[in-house]
């Protein structure tokens, strides 16, 4: 087996040995959707949001939440802990390339996040009759850009935090505003103009809107794609700039 696939398999095994992270990253988003769906008024069409139901709005929000959890609580903490304990330094003495190490983490995060997304879409469709994405390529494009932006931010946190614990703390501090503007408490359609404009510029506001647009059968707005790409380039660039092996 190649170094990349062996590393990915090993990292995935290690991931599944951390029950708390597994719960929050994989199980929590579908559970949250079920809880929202249990609220009767969330299942009634609402004329103020164009005849959609609140639960329809929450499916993309919960998908975005899954990405945020992976990037800010999983990836960042894992990498910072590896550096703190000298695991990265140890890897540096082997022929494995830094990029391979990073690639394995991203591959694992992507595969597991996609899994969560599929489960959330399936629960939405089967339990609450939420329609599946009508424009699938657009949906995937929005999802990939959102994942890239969030993983880049996670890696930036890992690069800047001195220890695994501090990476966890910084990740949590960033997590709440990011998921707030993704609409976890107030969906974007219910936000006032100022909040929605701020949301448009955060990493997950455009993600949720793009997923929602693609579900309705439209292509995402160029502004939203550009904002996600911007976060990827800026956070990814800074992460690469400040990345340290020890």
């Amino acid at each position: 087996m190649s170094a990349l696939s062996r590393l990915t398999v090993t990292e995935t095994k290690l991931f599944f040995r951390e029950p708390m992270i597994v719960f929050f990253a994989l199980a929590f988003p579908p559970i949250l959707l079920v809880i929202f769906g249990a609220v009767p008024s969330f299942r009634e069409p609402d004329p103020s949001i164009g005849g959609l139901r609140v639960i329809d709005l929450y499916v993309p929000i919960v998908v975005a939440l899954g990405l945020a959890t992976f990037a800010l609580n999983g990836l960042s903490q894992l990498f910072a802990t590896y550096r703190e304990k000298g695991v990265l330094r140890r890897m540096r003495t082997t022929p494995v390339k830094p990029g391979t190490m990073l690639g394995a983490q991203l591959l694992m995060s992507t595969i597991l996040s996609v899994l969560t997304m599929v489960v959330v879409l399936a629960v939405g469709r089967l339990a609450f009759d939420v329609s599946l994405p009508r424009q699938l390529p657009a949906y995937l494009l929005g999802y990939v850009l959102a994942a890239l932006a969030m993983f880049a931010i996670g890696l930036l946190v890992a690069s800047l935090a001195p220890t695994g614990k501090s990476a966890g703390a910084i990740g949590t501090v960033l997590f709440f505003p990011i998921v707030f503007f993704a609409g976890l408490w107030i969906p974007r359609d219910n936000m006032n103009g100022v909040l929605r404009t701020i949301s448009d510029l955060t990493p997950l506001g455009p993600a949720v809107q793009s997923l929602q647009d693609a579900t309705a059968g439209h292509w995402p707005q160029p502004l939203h794609l550009a904002v996600m790409l911007g976060w990827t380039i800026v956070a990814g660039g800074l992460a690469a700039r400040y990345f340290r092996w020890e």
């Binding site: 290690l14 000298g86 140890r90 082997t94 022929p95």
Partner: protein
């Protein structure tokens, strides 16, 4: 040809020169020691050899490779065991071996290595549950899994109990017998004396001496001392007449004979001829520790 060549190595951190003109050559199949007190610059020196740090001056060749220029090739040829580096807590011994062997072009049979390092019973054990000695043995196994030509072992036995330390020494000799050249960093005199074919003594970033352990000792002082309790009174003149003997002193019921060369043989021959038996006989030789004090002008504070 030397397998590791270090020439005029200089490394600074800010204004502080940590390594100042260190040079040595390690021959194929040797156990070569770098000995010195804490903070002498030993680790920095080997980290330059491992290509983990960029020297500020001097040249390094490992198997004729420049560690900074052809890092990829160096990683295939050099196995490293680092001070204070860990593995993920929940990674098992077997998974670590499998993972690390996937990094190399021509890996060793990791099951063989695990046997040699007496870890076969621990394949399913997570890293966090290993004892200090087991962690160190795993660390050696990982350093060797790529079938390296050179293994760099940094402070390998620090923190181990005396039995684990002795076991580890035996392992290192086994590894050398497999044809691996070993660069060993240590601040234990006993370890250096027991294992190393040759030693570079480093103090405050400078190379103080480079020789075999015995050579270092003899360079400082060739004198030996013999202590014994004679079974019958003995005329000192019988001993002082010997060319090997420089002085004879009485210390209580014991005689202390100092001298050089084949002192023991000369003295015991004379005693036998005079029908005197030497009880509680002890030979005292200059130790590597004495040599260090003499070379650096200060006590070894390891």
């Amino acid at each position: 040809m030397a397998i590791i060549e270090v020439d005029g190595l200089v490394k600074r951190y800010g204004d502080h020169t940590v390594v100042d003109g260190v040079g040595f050559a390690v021959e194929q199949g040797e156990i070569f020691g770098i000995l010195g007190p804490n903070g002498a610059g030993k680790t920095t020196t080997v980290e330059c050899v491992e290509g983990l740090r960029t020297p500020d001056g001097g040249t390094i060749r490992v198997c004729d490779i420049d560690p900074r220029r052809d890092t990829g090739e160096l990683r295939q040829l050099l196995g490293a065991q680092l001070q204070e580096s860990e593995l993920p807590d929940k990674l098992t011994v077997g998974e670590a071996m499998e993972l690390f062997s996937s990094f190399y072009r021509h890996p060793a049979d990791w099951r063989d290595l695990v046997d040699t390092l007496r870890l076969s019973g621990k394949l399913g054990t997570q890293f966090r549950r290993l004892s200090g000695g087991q962690k160190q043995r795993l660390s050696i196994a990982l350093a060797l899994v790529g079938n390296p030509r050179v293994a760099v072992l940094d402070e390998l036995t620090t923190g181990l109990d005396p039995q684990a330390r002795r076991d580890t020494w035996d392992l290192i000799e086994d590894i050398r017998d497999r044809g691996v050249t070993i660069l060993l960093v240590t601040h234990f005199m006993e370890e250096a004396e027991r294992l190393c074919d040759r030693l570079a003594v480093i103090d405050s970033g400078r190379l103080v001496a480079l020789d075999s352990p015995a050579g270092l000792v003899s360079r400082v002082d060739e004198r030996q001392r013999i202590r014994f309790r004679p079974s019958a009174p003995l005329d000192h003149a019988v001993l002082t007449a010997l060319p090997e003997v420089t002085s004879v002193e009485r210390a209580g019921s014991q005689l202390v004979v100092s001298g050089t060369g084949d002192l023991l043989l000369a003295v015991t021959t004379v005693l036998a001829r005079n029908q005197v038996v030497a009880a509680d006989l002890r030979v005292e030789q200059t130790s590597l520790e004495d040599a260090f004090v003499a070379l650096t002008g200060r006590p070894f504070d390891a």
